[in-house]
């Protein structure tokens, strides 16, 4: 069975719908807004010598840490931040430097656990359920094409759409960031590999990567996280057959993922939830893991398992269930 025409169909349907344009609009509007807000706040607070500022910040954070009133999770974060800024100061690098490429890199981090998954859900939640809602599923499944091919083509189209969205997100962030902070700086060194082991920050693995390489890795990881969320949203779309229900479920899961590590940092089982594992690019920049003991490879494995299981269940349900809608 020829498969490409089917994928072509599904991509056509995805791109022709308003939601793809809405996704683009969200990317543009959000990036524009953040860049605008940052330039505004920088203007209000005229910069002095960055070295002085960084040293003041370290001192301030050390005071917090010593006061002993910080909760456990924040203490780890403060320790990491002190170490990171200090490390930069020691090497005469501005820890708060900003440029178009750096802004794009920061976008990968910031969007990996909420924005990109959200857009993946926007596409995935409706890719099967909309066919049920329109009644077109009856035409789609009475063509001389196996159900498995129909569903695979949808999955492939979804992967294409998510990939496109991540790429566009990076491009838009770079364009807007560049507009405000300059387009150059892809070669600048970035320090990565800070590790936190038992309350202290480990510098052993810290190394400087050229920014483009670091950004590529970060976007790759954000893309992988978005794909996983796409696969799970795809499952809800197949099972629930209603776009609204599928979206609601997935949004609730995402929100739970952002709240849980904060309100219940000691509940260890949550590391097996997919939402807890989404901020993959954060690992790369060295931020503390959401739950103690989680590593990049652990999260990648957990996400992969979730994606495989979701896809398998989606196929199982779709191939067997009678279409009575």
């Amino acid at each position: 069975m020829k498969f490409t025409p089917l994928v072509e169909n599904e991509i056509l349907k995805l791109l022709k719908r308003r939601r793809f344009r809405v996704a683009l609009l969200i990317l543009v509007a959000l990036n524009g807004l953040i860049v605008f807000a940052q330039t505004q706040s920088r203007e209000r607070r005229p910069r002095r010598d960055w070295r002085v500022e960084a040293q003041e910040r370290v001192a301030r954070m050390q005071n917090w840490e010593r006061s002993g009133r910080l909760p456990q999770t924040q203490r780890t974060w403060v320790r990491y931040e002190i170490a990171r800024v200090q490390y930069h100061l020691d090497r005469n690098m501005d820890p708060e430097a900003i440029s178009g490429p750096l802004f794009a890199r920061a976008f990968a981090n910031a969007s990996s656990y909420l924005l990109l998954p959200l857009l993946a859900i926007l596409f995935a939640a409706d890719i099967v359920s909309s066919e049920f809602a329109q009644g077109t599923i009856k035409l789609l499944l009475t063509r001389p094409v196996s159900r498995a091919s129909v569903l695979s083509s949808k999955l492939a189209a979804l992967a294409v759409a998510i990939t496109l969205t991540v790429l566009l997100g990076g491009v838009v962030a770079y364009l807007f960031g560049g507009l405000a902070f300059g387009y150059r700086g892809w070669g600048a060194p970035v320090l990565t590999g800070f590790r936190i082991s038992g309350g202290t920050v480990d510098f052993a693995a810290v190394r400087a990567l050229p920014l483009w390489e670091d950004a590529l890795l970060a976007f790759g990881l954000a893309w992988f996280a978005a794909l996983t969320v796409g696969a799970i949203a795809f499952l809800t779309s197949v099972v629930l057959r209603s776009t609204a229900a599928a979206m609601g479920t997935m949004l609730a899961a995402l929100i739970a993922g952002t709240i849980l590590p904060r309100v219940a940092p000691t509940w260890e089982a949550q590391r097996y939830l997919f939402v807890t594992n989404l901020p993959l690019p954060d690992y790369y920049s060295g931020s503390p893991a959401p739950i103690a003991g989680m590593t990049l490879s652990f999260s990648v494995v957990v996400l992969t398992l979730w994606a495989i299981a979701a896809t398998a269940v989606a196929f199982g349900v779709f191939l067997r269930r009678d279409v009575l809608a």
């Binding site: 349907k13 009644g135 035409l139 009475t142 063509r143 094409v145 009678d322």
Partner: protein
């Protein structure tokens, strides 16, 4: 084995296209005579189809399912005889008994060659080797055997069987909730039957789904296509899902359904009738042997209904497509279908050629013009065959008594002092047959 044979035949049929389009010229001519205003469109379609009159539905050789004898005979359930006579090129279907008559043995050969069902090189061999053809006359395109579907404990479809032959329009009638839609869903593989099986062109739809469905075009329940795509994009979308691609047929088909001018507008802007027609064009993209149409006249105005009816007749008569139509519009079915099945509470209550159904059921119903009507009804009831006499109006009573008992009944009426002004035969309609077999439930 069966599938391999059928497939090769199909390929062959497509490959000898040029000669065949010559063959189909007479059909075009007939068509333009019978369907005046559609002249140009119809001519285009005939040329567009790689298949001439009444052919080549893949002939099924080995399978015994083409023989009708193994099905429980419902009323006149010939399975595949068809009403005949609608396709000018094929001789009228013979009564079933004819197949048991040795002299009728030449008939299938004549039919097969006239219909061009089989191919030159093996026609002789086929006719000799294929007993089913002697019984059948035309190839069975769709066969449903003992379809049963349960939802929980409730059996919504019970043991429904029928066959549809090439060029035949088969009507599927039933009140709402009778199991029509569930049956259709089983026919096209949307729902899996708990028991029974469906074969299309000889292919079992569970085991050979893709090959079976490549012969089918269908509209199930709604004809809604993708509203955010244009008509052309919708057709292209479904053409891409066909094994041989249907792109080349888009122009002809959009002309056939009179949508050429709006083809590049989004479907969201179409009227209901236009959507219905686009749905039909979609169903025809794959040059199907079988069309399954669920309520094709739904939401259409009378002119639209008439157009659809003419189109369906044309497809069946001139292109040999088997058409399965479910409907609740009895008058429509009566005018359009060769055979009907009446389904009620999941069971087939009656099945047979429309004419036979009408004759066997309501033909003997008599209308007495008599006063007082109520009294007349009381007297007439014991004379009836099974049903009670019904008061139809102030002066009219209908009864199903047989012709032989009319004098007796009249004498009884006269003796009782009922004034009889006349007795007439009541013309029966499918509606009456329907009401009778379903026990008076409305459609």
């Amino acid at each position: 084995m069966t599938s391999a044979v059928a497939t090769s035949e199909r390929t062959l049929a497509l490959s000898i296209k040029p000669r065949r389009s010559e063959d189909s010229a007479p059909a075009t001519a007939r068509l333009t005579d019978s369907i005046g205003p559609r002249r140009r469109r119809a001519a285009m379609t005939s040329a567009a189809y790689p298949r001439p009159v009444g052919s080549p539905v893949p002939c099924e050789r080995e399978s015994p399912s083409t023989s009708t004898s193994r099905f429980p005979a419902c009323l006149g359930a010939s399975g595949v005889t068809g009403a005949g006579g609608e396709a000018p090129s094929s001789p009228p279907a013979e009564p079933r008994i004819a197949s048991q008559n040795p002299t009728a043995k030449t008939a299938p050969a004549a039919r097969a060659s006239a219909a061009g069902t089989c191919h030159n090189q093996n026609r002789e061999e086929r006719i000799q080797s294929d007993d089913t053809f002697r019984d059948v006359g035309r190839a069975v395109v769709l066969s449903a055997e003992g379809l049963t579907k349960r939802f929980g404990k409730r059996e919504v479809v019970s043991n429904v069987s029928f066959e549809i032959a090439a060029g035949e329009v088969f009507g599927f009638l039933g009140p709402n909730g009778a199991g029509k839609t569930t049956t259709i869903r089983m026919l096209v593989g949307l729902a899996r039957p708990d028991r029974g099986r469906v074969r299309i062109g000889g292919f079992d739809i569970e085991r050979d789904f893709a090959r079976a469905m490549s012969r089918v075009g269908c509209i199930v329940e709604s004809t809604d296509l993708y509203p955010y795509l244009t008509g052309r994009e919708n057709l292209l979308h479904f053409a891409r899902m066909l094994p041989d691609g249907g792109e080349s047929r888009i122009a002809e088909l959009s002309a056939l359904v009179a949508l050429e001018e709006r083809l590049d507008d989004r479907v969201a802007t179409y009227s209901l009738g236009m959507r219905q027609r686009l749905g039909l064009a979609q169903a025809l993209l794959g040059a199907p042997d079988l069309l399954i149409l669920d309520e094709p006249a739904n939401g259409l105005d009378p002119a639209g209904i008439r157009e659809i009816r003419q189109l369906i007749r044309h497809l069946a008569a001139d292109l040999g497509i088997a058409v399965f139509v479910s409907s609740h519009l009895l008058a429509e079915v009566e005018q359009m279908c060769d055979r009907v099945a009446i389904i009620h509470r999941g069971r087939t209550l009656a099945m047979g050629p429309v004419r036979e159904l009408l004759e066997s059921r309501g033909a003997e119903r008599l209308l007495f013009r008599a006063r007082p009507a109520e009294h007349a009804a009381e007297i007439l009831t014991p004379f009836g065959r099974d049903g009670a006499a019904r008061v139809e109006g102030e002066e009219s009573v209908s009864s199903d008594l047989s012709r032989e008992r009319v004098p007796e009944a009249l004498a009884a009426l006269a003796a009782a002092g009922v004034l009889v002004f006349g007795v007439e035969r009541q013309a029966s309609t499918l509606e009456e047959v329907f009401l009778e077999v379903t026990g008076g439930e409305t459609v």
